[in-house]
């Protein structure tokens, strides 16, 4: 198709979808499973590793450490793999997957770290990890623990911030008036100091485009149910809006 050839030269972009139901039956089943796991974790912390995990002197790690380190970090490397494919090998289609991949990775790494804490016999001694001179860099396990925690806490957490902040900013912001006030103050201060040259500024362009494009008025706290009424879509309900956005995302018709 003609449009497909056109797509190849452009980065594919996903569109955020808001307003879908969170508490579904599957969600509740998973919550129940999590609660069961927490109960078992509590039992493990009190009784020790042997009775819960089935490990003994012959099988010092059992399947558990292997699962934590090899399965969860492998799942968690999805963002890295997709990112390399998209950004280094320029598979522009995959760009739309980045946010999902980053979230999956963060969850896998966070689970892996939690499980390492449960798997360790004396997890309260993990505080040594903040003193680099106490690390034993001969130890592959130390490298795994250090790299996992740094990777999960800094790059993955920071990369997952934009969706959260966007949501806060565009749909549920109580911070927005305060931030805008501070921003205006800073900008005013800078304008007095020295006027900016009339170059194209991506930041200002972004502000103009986004704010006008969303039909969101300045100084108000927009929510999905209100903003859709002002949007140019002119459709009836919030659900309809979400459905339309989702359909557009799926069909890749965003550029029409």
């Amino acid at each position: 198709m003609n449009s497909e050839a056109k797509n190849d030269s452009r980065w594919e972009r996903a569109v955020p979808v808001y307003g879908f139901p969170v508490v579904t039956r599957a969600f509740l089943v998973l919550v129940a499973l999590t609660l069961l796991a927490l109960l078992l974790t509590g039992y493990r912390e009190l009784a020790g590793l042997g009775p819960v995990s089935g490990m003994n002197d012959a099988f010092g790690w059992g399947i558990w450490k292997t699962f934590n380190v090899m399965v969860l970090t492998a799942l968690g490397s999805g963002a890295f793999a997709v990112g390399i494919a998209a950004w280094v090998f320029r598979r522009k289609k995959l760009h739309a997957l980045m946010r999902m991949a980053l979230l999956t990775s963060f969850l896998a790494y966070a689970c892996g770290l939690m499980l390492l804490g449960i798997d360790a016999g004396k997890p309260w001694n993990f505080y040594w990890i903040v003193f680099p001179w106490k690390w034993n860099m001969h130890s592959p396990l130390a490298e795994v623990a250090i790299c996992m925690s740094i990777y999960a806490m800094i790059p993955l957490a920071v990369e997952n911030l934009p969706p959260v902040l966007e949501r806060l900013w565009y749909f549920d912001s109580r911070l927005r008036p305060g931030v805008e006030k501070a921003e205006r103050r800073i900008l005013a201060h800078r304008r007095v100091g020295r006027p900016r040259p009339g170059r194209y500024s991506a930041h200002r362009h972004h502000r103009r485009t986004v704010r006008s494009g969303y039909g969101i008025e300045r100084g108000r706290t927009p929510r999905l149910s209100q903003s859709h009424k002002r949007s140019s879509d002119g459709t009836g309900s919030a659900r309809n809006f979400v459905f339309r956005v989702a359909t557009e995302a799926v069909l890749g018709l965003v550029e029409t």
């Binding site: 030269s9 452009r10 997890p123 001969h138 991506a202």
Partner: protein, 308 residues
């Protein structure tokens, strides 16, 4: 337009291979490859040909280290079947079915000159004393990961599987008794002198003297631990193959040195990762060109916010 795999790999290889060669060739040997024997290395010499298997050392060890008897089976006192979280020292019997010579063996920590447990321990809970060479376990550094139990080629450190505050149990050569000027528990009670305590050099001389006096008595006329696994401070003499007694053939290179050579070279001075990282950043910077402008154009067209 799109970068090919070949292009990327050759770019990285052009910079990375010379750097790797330079780092590997131009650096001095690693610490683990030149293990020094501690100045006052003490150890044990066990002679399997003298041992009568009375197990006095097992109970003396438990007494010296103040461990309760192992009554976990049926609540009755019994000798443990293997090293465990209450047993630092054990006597086992090797008795082949074909009637060839049998032998007792005493198993406890070997106090390797280059201990694998200390190399594997993430936060230095296991460390080798630089003077005496005793491998100690420190309670408040241990995270209970059980890596020591996995890496030890002799399978010596044992984890406590029951209880909220587990510990790792291994022979520490009764260091609390050494401080008082006493010998370790096991050597103080041995009725035949099958296990003796002393400086490693003296024990090695004694072992070689025994081999010289009885040239046909010992297996391969070899002192196990002189060079095995980089050298150990617990030395063994035996008339049966050492492998049958649970002392595997490990070669002269220690277990950590074997892996460390490659593991450290890849990461030395962070040179190779840095080369790889710089290469990737260059490629990504190229990919980024026009990306933001494109996003804004799309936002204008669709009225929907484009993701980064």
């Amino acid at each position: 337009m799109a970068i090919t795999r070949r292009e990327l790999i050759t770019t990285i290889a052009k910079a990375g291979v010379p750097a790797a060669v330079a780092v590997t060739v131009g650096t001095e040997p690693l610490h683990a490859e030149t293990t020094a024997i501690p100045s006052a290395a003490v150890g044990l010499l066990y002679d399997a040909t003298i041992c009568i298997g009375c197990k006095a050392c097992v109970s003396a060890c438990a007494e010296a280290n103040n461990t309760p008897p192992d009554t976990r089976g049926d609540g009755m006192h019994q000798s443990p079947s293997d090293l465990n979280d209450l047993t630092r020292n054990i006597i086992k019997l090797y008795k082949p079915e074909d009637g060839s010579p049998a032998s007792f063996v005493k198993r406890q920590c070997m106090h390797c000159l280059d201990p694998a447990c200390a190399a594997g321990c993430p936060f230095q809970a296991l460390h080798k004393d630089p003077e005496s060479g005793i491998v100690y376990w420190t309670e408040n550094k241990c995270i209970g990961c059980r890596y020591c139990t996995i890496t030890c080629p002799y399978h010596v450190p044992r984890f406590q599987w029951v209880g909220y505050n587990p510990r790792v149990t291994k022979c520490e050569l009764c260091s609390h008794r050494l401080e008082k000027g006493l010998k370790p528990g096991c050597t103080s009670v041995c009725p035949t002198g099958a296990v003796i305590f002393g400086p490693r050099t003296v024990l090695l001389m004694e072992a070689k003297r025994r081999i010289k006096e009885n040239p046909d008595r010992y297996f391969e006329n070899k002192v196990y631990g002189e060079t095995d696994n980089g050298g150990t401070q617990s030395l063994y003499l035996s008339h049966v193959p050492f492998e049958k007694l649970g002392l595997p053939e490990l070669g002269e290179e220690s277990v950590p040195a074997r892996t460390l050579r490659w593991q450290r070279r890849f990461y030395q001075y962070f040179a190779l990762p840095a080369v790889l990282y710089v290469g990737l950043v260059q490629v990504i910077r190229k990919s980024l060109k026009g990306h933001e402008q494109e996003a804004h154009d799309r936002e204008k067209q669709t009225g929907l916010r484009a993701q980064l």
